[in-house]
């Protein structure tokens, strides 16, 4: 270093040196020796530089040391010898009270890395008091900085302190060691841990600190089980969402989200590593509760405008607020009605305000009315509602008491004119009815008019009867029927998928646990054991082309069919359950009556037709379906045979048939027939089919042999 170089030139040189060691860690010893004088703040043996350049060099050097002692590329033994040489430099860099932040950060990082190394060295070389004193001094200084420094630098320090005294097990210290006293170290470590965990109990949590600490705790919990539970308990009492009550700035939003997520991930990580730990249950609860609260806070805050939702009782913070301000319930007065006749509207009007009274609600679109209604019901104090209901009830009973007088036929005038109320349900309805009836030409209009004349003034609640419903056309019936079926299926989607199956045994009551399975049972029974009169009655066994009259059962069946096909792999259970019901119903019908229509066979074939095109070569669904449905016919087996047209499906079809042969003795013969047919018809299927037949069909092997002999003569010789 003859002429003083510029800092940039020097750093360039240093970078080259760094490249050398990155390539080959064997040179570290030399390089470190070379750079130590450069970064030593006392600047020994270096030309005097301005402070800025000195800081530049120190930053580089400290960073380099941090990198060196963290590097997994250097074996620990080498690091152990290296670390003793840098202790003094680290100490003097830290001691400088005006030290640059970046330098401090790197030095702390280095110190954290070398502490266990030095510790190990001292254990084995108890004479080296000097090194021990140095590292102690460094530690003390870092703790001092922790007290005073800005949170940003504390972050790494928190980790540096991460139970470092415990990093190298105290168990390794021989009891008679001259400078290491285990009891003292243990106390010190425990104090440090307390200090770290104190972060979680402070009122104002800084996310940088909290996150940094959380993320460094995992290893401590793992490596030191004796303090693990204590740490976890502290975390479980920590509420990262605490600050979410006050209005959030973009920054605090990031911080709160971050602390919540970091806490959650740490706990999940702990549970994943050791699912048997005694706190697993509590951790699980905590994690779930956090997720719920988080969703409430952040999803609701971001949602612009939605339907008002009931306040969720789960959020402790919100609940507190409500509890603090109990709303006094005002007395609510429903003025009694004046004597004399009243409209229904008047009966229910409890507002004294004239303008509101004359407002016609029916001009509002229905969905708005519903929305207003729901909102009001949610916001309304139950007490007030009860008072209002009570008031109206009183009015009603008082009116009822007056009724006989008012309706005295001789004195009571026809009330049509008197009643200028907007509520007159009969009138519109009667006209509707009239039109429909006219169209259908099935009822004489005068009757209606007469009825109207009588009904119209009938406002008094007691004597009111509903007008007869209009007669519906067939199409309407069908439409409404389909709507009903649609709703029945709609319910199912809202039900939960059954979680775990419990075997209830034979004595269980079907459809008693209100989940999706039960609803399916209800639907299948609705379809199969239908109401009398809605069942189709044609004795011709369902021609597909014929226009079948509407049948509720068939509509349900069709919907069921579509529902199963939507996801047949998952819903094959439903298919089997349904077909069992159909089969049973068919049997019952056959026993009971002459004119029964059989459904089972038709729907089996239809389902099979639906499923087959989507089968995958390794699907077990077909095998399961065939083996679980209550009856098998030749037609069904023919469908399976046809599968073999696709060479890829041969195996599937044959396996399914083999399963039938093995597991369903009653159909064994027809299943074997089917296999034989396949053997005859499909060239691709021959080897496997022959294998099965040889095993299961006595005499087949011989025939096979015969056939092979006469093969040249008659290629398709064998028939059964």
């Amino acid at each position: 270093m003859a002429a003083p170089m510029s800092v940039d030139q020097q750093i360039k040189l240093l970078e080259e040196a760094r490249r050398v060691v990155l390539n080959d860690p064997n040179y570290y010893q030399q390089i470190i020796q070379g750079i130590l004088p450069l970064i030593d703040p006392r600047g020994k043996g270096e030309p005097q530089r301005d402070t800025a350049s000195k800081v530049e060099l120190q930053r580089w050097g400290a960073e380099f040391l941090a990198e060196t002692f963290a590097s997994p590329a250097i074996p620990p033994q080498q690091k152990e010898t290296l670390c003793l040489t840098v202790l003094e430099a680290l100490r003097s860099m830290l001691d400088d009270p005006n030290q640059d932040n970046a330098v401090v950060k790197s030095v702390v990082q280095t110190a954290a890395s070398i502490y266990p190394l030095v510790f190990r060295w001292i254990i084995n070389n108890s004479y080296d008091n000097q090194s021990w004193e140095r590292i102690q001094a460094i530690k003390t200084r870092i703790l001092q900085i922790w007290d005073t420094a800005a949170p940003g630098t504390v972050g790494p320090e928190a980790n540096a302190m991460r139970g470092d005294p415990m990093e190298v097990s105290l168990g390794m210290v021989p009891p008679n060691h001259s400078s290491l006293i285990p009891r003292n170290l243990e106390a010190e470590a425990s104090g440090l841990l307390d200090r770290m965990l104190g972060i979680f109990q402070e009122s104002i949590s800084d996310a940088v600190l909290v996150d940094a600490t959380l993320n460094s705790l995992a290893i401590l919990i793992r490596a030191r089980p004796q303090v693990g539970n204590r740490i976890i308990n502290v975390i479980l009492n920590f509420n990262p969402l605490k600050q979410a009550n006050s209005p959030m700035t973009p920054k605090s939003r990031v911080q709160i989200k971050s602390m919540e997520k970091t806490t959650r991930l740490l706990l999940v990580n702990i549970n994943k590593r050791d699912p048997q730990n005694p706190l697993a249950g509590r951790i699980q609860q905590y994690v779930e509760r956090m997720m719920r609260s988080r969703n409430e806070i952040f999803d609701e805050a971001t949602r612009k405008r939605g339907p008002p939702e009931p306040t969720d009782g789960l959020d402790a913070a919100k609940r507190q607020k409500l509890a603090q301000m109990p709303v006094p319930v005002p007395r609510f007065n429903v003025p009694p009605l004046t004597p004399g006749p009243h409209t229904i509207a008047e009966l229910f009007t409890i507002s004294a305000e004239k303008g509101l009274e004359s407002f016609d609600v029916s001009i509002l679109p229905e969905h708005i009315v519903v929305q207003i209604g729901i909102t009001i019901l949610q916001k309304l104090n139950a007490d007030i509602l009860n008072q209002a209901i009570e008031g109206v009830r009183k009015r009603y009973t008082s009116m009822q008491a007056l009724q006989p007088q008012q309706l005295n036929p001789s004195t009571f005038p026809l009330g049509v004119e008197e009643d200028d109320d907007d509520y007159d349900p009969d009138f519109d309805n009667a006209e509707d009815t009239e039109q429909i009836l006219n169209k259908l030409d099935s009822a004489p209009p005068p009757v209606i008019e007469e009825e109207m004349a009588v009904k119209a003034p009938d406002i008094a609640p007691v004597n009111y009867t509903l007008p007869p419903p209009p007669v519906m056309t067939l199409e309407e019936v069908e439409q409404v029927g389909q709507g009903t079926v649609g709703r029945v299926f709609g319910v199912m989607n809202t039900l939960e998928e059954p979680g775990k199956k419990t075997k209830a045994g034979l004595n269980r009551l079907a459809a008693s646990s209100c989940d999706r399975d039960d609803w399916i049972t209800i639907i299948t029974r609705l379809a199969t054991r239908s109401v009398a009169g809605l069942e189709e009655t044609d004795t011709v066994k369902t021609e597909p082309d014929a226009v079948t009259p509407f049948s509720l059962s068939n509509t349900i069946r069709n919907s069921l069919y579509l529902y199963i096909l939507e996801d047949f792999r998952k819903r094959i259970d439903i298919a089997v359950a349904w077909l069992c019901e159909e089969w049973y119903n068919d049997k019952v019908q056959m026993k009971a009556g002459e004119e029964s229509v059989l459904h089972y066979e038709k729907w089996v074939v239809k389902l099979l037709d639906g499923i087959i095109p989507y089968l995958d070569t390794r699907d077990k669904v077909l095998t399961r379906f065939l083996s679980e449905i209550p009856g098998l016919s030749l037609e069904v087996l023919n469908k399976v045979k046809e599968l073999c047209k696709d060479p890829a499906m041969v195996n599937l079809a044959l396996t399914s048939l083999l399963y039938l042969v093995l597991m369903r003795p009653p159909v064994r013969e027809i299943a074997l027939d089917a296999v034989e047919d396949i053997w005859n018809t499909y060239e691709d299927a021959k080897p496997i089919a022959a294998k099965y037949l040889t095993k299961w069909r006595p005499g087949f092997a011989d025939r096979l042999k015969d056939k092979e002999e006469e093969k040249p003569a008659t290629p398709q010789g064998i028939t059964t």
Partner: protein, 255 residues
């Protein structure tokens, strides 16, 4: 590229420009599931802006769309190059893979680095000198980064979980930020812009911290100045206001 003028060199006041000896630069790492679309788009962007950057995927395998949703093209991490994927898919069905943008993407990727790398297999702190040809490799020879940016919450979770399992052997803090990007080409482009903006904002703050003249620095007033680490939540908060469609999560973890 123009957005990221290298910060003027600190202290000495020399204005050096260019990746070799420019101002202070944070080191970045981008992460997505397959290290193909989102992480590579942002890798390229950050590299083009002269940031040191590396990238990884957290999935078990590299999965690229195939002829149907059930038939993805699957490759091994660390063992398959972008170039070989490109050639294979081109020979399989050039029209299809050109139309869905896969070839285009792989073509871009093979100019950035050799092949997809898996996060979980990354040995943090092992020198990466052999990656010298990768774009953005300058500055990350030491095998560590300052900021990890994931492109999907699932990946963020995987990264944090992995770091917890590693037990922070390096004692080195790292900011891990998720920027949620949908996995398609268009969103990856938008996300890449967002990530570059985030990187610029973070780097500006970090460079400012280092630029503060240490001469007049009085340790007594340390608490009055905010350090870079401390400013990160604020920077992300501000960034989130600018990019409301890329929801972000952040934490400070350890290598």
């Amino acid at each position: 590229m123009a957005q990221t003028q290298p910060q003027p060199a600190n202290g000495s006041g020399q204005n050096v420009e260019g990746p070799a000896d420019g101002g202070f630069k944070l080191k970045f790492c981008t992460v997505c599931a397959s290290n193909n679309n989102r992480s590579m788009e942002s890798h390229l962007r950050l590299a083009a802006a002269n940031y040191p950057v590396i990238s990884f995927g957290t999935g078990s395998l590299v999965r690229l769309p195939g002829p149907s949703i059930t038939q993805p093209n699957v490759y091994q991490f660390n063992k398959t190059s972008y170039d070989s994927m490109y050639k294979e898919l081109e020979s399989k069905d050039a029209r299809l893979y050109r139309a869905n943008g896969i070839l285009n993407m792989l073509g871009r990727n093979r100019d950035v680095k050799w092949g997809p790398e898996r996060w979980q297999d990354w040995r943090v702190g092992i020198p990466r000198l052999e990656h010298a040809k990768d774009q953005g490799s300058e500055g990350v020879e030491g095998g560590v980064v300052d900021v990890v940016i994931t492109c999907e919450e699932r990946c963020w979770d995987a990264v944090i979980d992995d770091l917890l399992n590693r037990g922070s052997p390096l004692n080195r803090p790292v900011h891990v930020i998720n920027v949620d990007i949908k996995d398609n080409h268009e969103e990856a482009l938008v996300g890449g812009r967002g990530i570059l903006d985030l990187a610029d904002s973070l780097n500006k703050a970090a460079a400012e911290e280092r630029k503060l003249n240490p001469v007049g620095f009085d340790s007594g007033s340390a608490s009055s100045r905010s350090s870079f680490d401390e400013r990160v939540p604020e920077i992300i908060g501000e960034w989130q206001e600018r990019w409301p469609n890329l929801p972000a999560v952040w934490t400070l973890a350890w290598f």
